[in-house]
């Protein structure tokens, strides 16, 4: 790959040259370390084959497919309403967010639009699933770095968000709440007040995590300057979401495209960071969680009254056509290229999941780092295995 001639690789080559003199005398040889598929740090079953020289990585390659479920094939034998429940399971931590781009693509083909109240509730639930997803990331980050407490705090506060999602949709992890033309149901009574309280708690959680983890000097010394991904590399690998924004790419699909969602009606900041290292990626996510709580609060303030379902036929047949809709999911750009032939089900769905692209940078970024940094970098890139393998 041409983009490899970067300072990171140069520094590795220099280190190799320095070691070479030693190696001649000591006759050392490399060691291949299999990290995964069963390993505490791989969230699921990603396997990283790392060739080590001492504790330094010579090359590393992820091996996927331990959780390949063939969703693109499965969608072809399902009807449009049946697909929503399936794609919940791609990124299982931010599952509501997975439904939205698919439903939007189908709506685009049918040329209908959800009523405003449905758009608002969709956006609220979308941001809630972002909070649920990223707050777990913030806690899990601690575990990857050896701090055991943050993950419990994260689970504690994510629970509130999951309760909200379950209270509204009925599904804790797999809401299946989105319908073509709107939502399955309106919000239950008391939900809005509860959500406001939870958002306040979540902001407290963000402060706690910042004090406990991000401000910690050990944490910073582990994160800063590690796993630097420059902007041009990030773009050529198609990194998205916080990973791209941490490299200074100011690109957020919530702001930068027109969608029938409510993001254009709220005021929020898209954070970017010039460094592109592990710390930048994690810090961007922390800030995004804070922004998400603010977005939810604003949307709750001006939630319009009205129906949550547009008029759609009972049996949904999507007219022939092709549509691409991508949204800014918790993990990054998640898009569906839906090809319909006027049938009950889609003809072909290409699922562009964020983690697949985000993790494809791993062989590049892991060159020359130490074994502990493998874990840090993987944690900061933040992948969900279901999102890689689909």
């Amino acid at each position: 790959m041409t983009v490899l001639s970067d300072r990171q690789q140069l520094s590795y080559i220099a280190a190799q040259a320095a070691d070479a003199r030693l190696n001649v005398e000591l006759e050392t040889e490399g060691m291949t370390l299999n990290i995964g598929p069963q390993h505490p740090a791989t969230h699921g079953t990603l396997r990283i084959i790392a060739h080590l020289d001492g504790e330094q990585v010579v090359w590393a390659e992820p091996s996927c497919g331990y959780m390949h479920r063939g969703y693109e094939k499965l969608t072809e034998v399902r009807t449009f309403p049946q697909v929503t429940t399936l794609i919940n399971r791609i990124d299982w931590l931010g599952s509501f967010a997975n439904e939205v781009p698919f439903i939007l693509a189908a709506e685009k083909l049918m040329e209908i639009e959800a009523p405003p109240r449905a758009q608002y509730i969709r956006t609220i639930l979308f941001e809630l699933s972002r909070i649920a997803n990223v707050s777990l990331f913030l806690g899990d980050l601690g575990v990857q770095m050896g701090a055991i407490t943050p993950v419990f705090l994260a689970f504690r506060d994510r629970e509130y968000v999951l309760n909200l999602i379950e209270g509204a949709t009925g599904g804790r992890f797999h809401p299946n709440f989105d319908r073509i033309g709107g939502l399955k149901d309106d919000l239950p009574k008391g939900w809005i007040d509860e959500t406001r309280q939870v958002m306040r708690k979540l902001r407290g959680f963000c402060d706690e995590i910042e004090d406990l983890l991000f401000g910690n000097e050990i944490f910073q010394s582990r994160m800063r300057g590690i796993g630097v991904i420059p902007a041009d590399v990030a773009k050529s690998f198609g990194l998205s979401g916080a990973n791209a924004r941490a490299s200074g790419i100011d690109w957020d699909l919530r702001r930068d495209q027109v969608l029938p969602m409510a993001w254009d009606k709220v005021d929020f900041k898209v954070w970017t960071h010039p460094d592109g290292d592990c710390f930048a990626r994690c810090w961007i996510r922390l800030q995004e969680t804070r922004e998400a709580t603010k977005i939810v609060d604003q949307l709750l303030d001006d939630l319009p009254p009205g129906p949550v379902m547009a008029k759609v036929p009972r049996i949904i047949k999507v007219p022939a056509g092709e549509a691409w809709v991508a949204t800014e999911n918790p993990l990054g750009e998640m898009g569906y290229y839906v090809v319909s032939k006027g049938d009950l089900g889609p003809f072909r769905v290409k699922i562009r999941s964020a983690s697949f692209n985000n993790i494809s940078v791993v062989p590049w970024v892991l060159k020359g780092v130490y074994v502990p940094d493998i874990i840090t970098i993987l944690a900061s890139l933040y992948f969900i295995l279901g999102d890689i393998d689909r």
């Binding site: 790959m1 690998f237 495209q257 900041k269 804070r290 092709e322 697949f356």
Partner: protein, 235 residues
């Protein structure tokens, strides 16, 4: 208390930029037409929404180069479409019945096409906030196209996946091993003629119908919809 977030390590231009209009996408089409000439086969433009461009196989890599030079340096995805209608349907056929007649006519979608397999890729311009979907026809007897890996490093995995799932070759790709499936797996799962076994191993529960009344069997084959009578009563 001073928070990290207050230290302002972030720099951003938060103001949303003006959304791209027609002129922008038409400009892209013009640019491609000038650069590719005959290589540009067809385009489809939905104003203020999206742009499809179908190019010839011979200029596939060149298209990428031209677009990358024009700011489309964000690689989104690369995949393929098999336009053959599935010979298996949704797997809901009754195994006892004779197999139903299904159309085998290949009808391509947006921006047309001539072959069964079409390459599908998307590039974004993150500054102008515009994307373009590229398509490319691949003849059945020679499913090979130039690799994009020298242009976009991210194409590496996507081309591996496409190779594995559709059997499309990529000339110049460094390493076309399988990503998901075992190395000795036979067949290309995302091709339409590859059966989905989960839908083959057991018959669809929906095939079963309510058994008609023995006495009235010859009288009429009742439809499921006529079961409504009882429902009306109870509701």
């Amino acid at each position: 208390m001073v928070r990290l977030s207050d230290t302002g390590t972030s720099e951003t231009d938060a103001a949303p930029k003006a959304l791209p209009g027609d002129g922008l996408r038409e400009g892209i089409v013009d640019l491609l037409r000038n650069a590719l000439g005959e290589g540009l086969v067809d385009t489809h433009l939905v104003p203020n929404d999206d742009l499809w461009v179908r190019v010839d196989r011979s200029v596939w890599r060149h298209t990428g180069e031209v677009l990358a030079a024009d700011g489309f340096d964000y690689f989104c995805f690369l995949s393929a479409i098999d336009w053959l209608p599935s010979p298996w349907g949704r797997g809901e056929d009754d195994p006892d019945d004779p197999p139903p007649e299904r159309s085998t006519e290949i009808v391509q979608g947006v921006a047309g096409g001539e072959t069964r397999f079409q390459l599908l890729a998307r590039l974004n311009d993150v500054r102008r906030h515009v994307g373009v979907t590229l398509k490319c026809d691949l003849p059945d007897d020679d499913l090979v196209v130039d690799s994009w890996v020298p242009l976009f490093a991210g194409a590496n995995w996507h081309e591996r996946e496409t190779h594995e799932m559709f059997g499309i070759g990529f000339a110049g790709h460094p390493d076309l091993r399988n990503m998901y499936l075992p190395g000795d797996f036979e067949g290309y799962p995302l091709r339409k003629d590859f059966p989905l076994l989960a839908r083959m191993v057991k018959p669809w529960p929906g095939i079963v119908d309510v058994e008609p009344m023995p006495a009235l069997e010859e009288e009429e084959e009742t439809d499921t919809a006529e079961g409504d009578t009882k429902g009306d009563e109870s509701s």
